[in-house]
């Protein structure tokens, strides 16, 4: 069984500063994939970043990067130079290589203060 835990229900950050959202997971799969999704007030689910577990290098997408610690089963999201448009609910998720179902954490609501 897969589980995903986001221990921070809410976070806030000042505009232009950096914030890190935490995520831990558990899986019995040796091959798996991790994702961060963003959900703004529009309700749309937007893929932010993806990490393959077999890759040691941390994924980056512009101002978004992850700190993937495989042994610790940790997958945190760092947002640099935060912008007002980054305000949203963020979901961490895990998909096993042999399991097509995506398991989600409960989400972290990020507020960006001007």
């Amino acid at each position: 069984a897969q589980t995903v835990t986001q221990s921070q229900p809410e976070m806030s950050v000042q505009e232009a500063e950096t914030v890190t959202l935490s995520c831990t997971y558990d899986t019995s799969e040796s091959d798996y994939y991790l994702f961060w999704y963003k959900q703004p007030p529009s309700r749309q689910m937007i893929l932010v970043i993806r990490q393959e577990a077999y890759k040691q290098q941390n994924a980056t997408e512009n101002r978004f990067s992850v700190n993937f610690q495989k042994a610790a089963k940790s997958f945190s999201l760092k947002i640099s130079d935060s912008q007002l448009g980054d305000a949203a609910m963020y979901f961490c998720s895990n998909k096993g290589g042999s399991n097509y179902k995506l398991t989600f954490g409960k989400g972290t609501l990020l507020t960006v203060n001007p």
Binding site: Q6, Y33, F35, S42, R43, Q44, M45, L47, R50, E52, F91, K95, G97, Y100, K101, L102, T103, F104, G105, K106, G107
Partner: protein
């Protein structure tokens, strides 16, 4: 336009009524999913389908029925709606031929059961 479309976007119904939420995708993805989103629970899997005429239960299937006679459509039916089924429902699809492909989501249906 290619993508995944859910309808209706909003629905209000009464307890005991049957409700069907529609989902249509244009990519011919084999896998399709229904999730419900509730505050404090994140996204929870209701049902999923690996192909036309193949469906299986997720984490919270009770009170829901699905069918998939065509690859592109995956409707979700609440046979006798209850207030506990008030939620936001997301349909999603996935390209199983691309290992590690993320889920692509519809824009969700907000269902209120009175």
């Amino acid at each position: 336009d290619a993508g995944i479309t859910q309808s209706p976007r909003y629905k209000i119904t009464e307890t005991g009524r049957q409700v069907t939420l529609m989902c249509h995708q244009t990519w011919s993805h084999s896998y399709m999913f229904w999730y419900r989103q509730d505050l404090g629970h994140g996204l929870r899997l209701i049902y999923y389908s690996a192909a036309a005429d193949i469906t299986d239960k997720g984490e919270v299937p009770d009170g829901y029925v699905v069918s998939r006679s065509k690859t592109e459509n995956f409707p979700l039916t609440l046979e006798s709606a209850t207030r506990s089924q008030t939620s936001v429902y997301f349909c999603a699809s996935y390209d199983a031929q691309l290992l590690g492909s993320p889920l692509h989501f519809g824009n969700g249906t907000r269902l209120t059961v009175t």
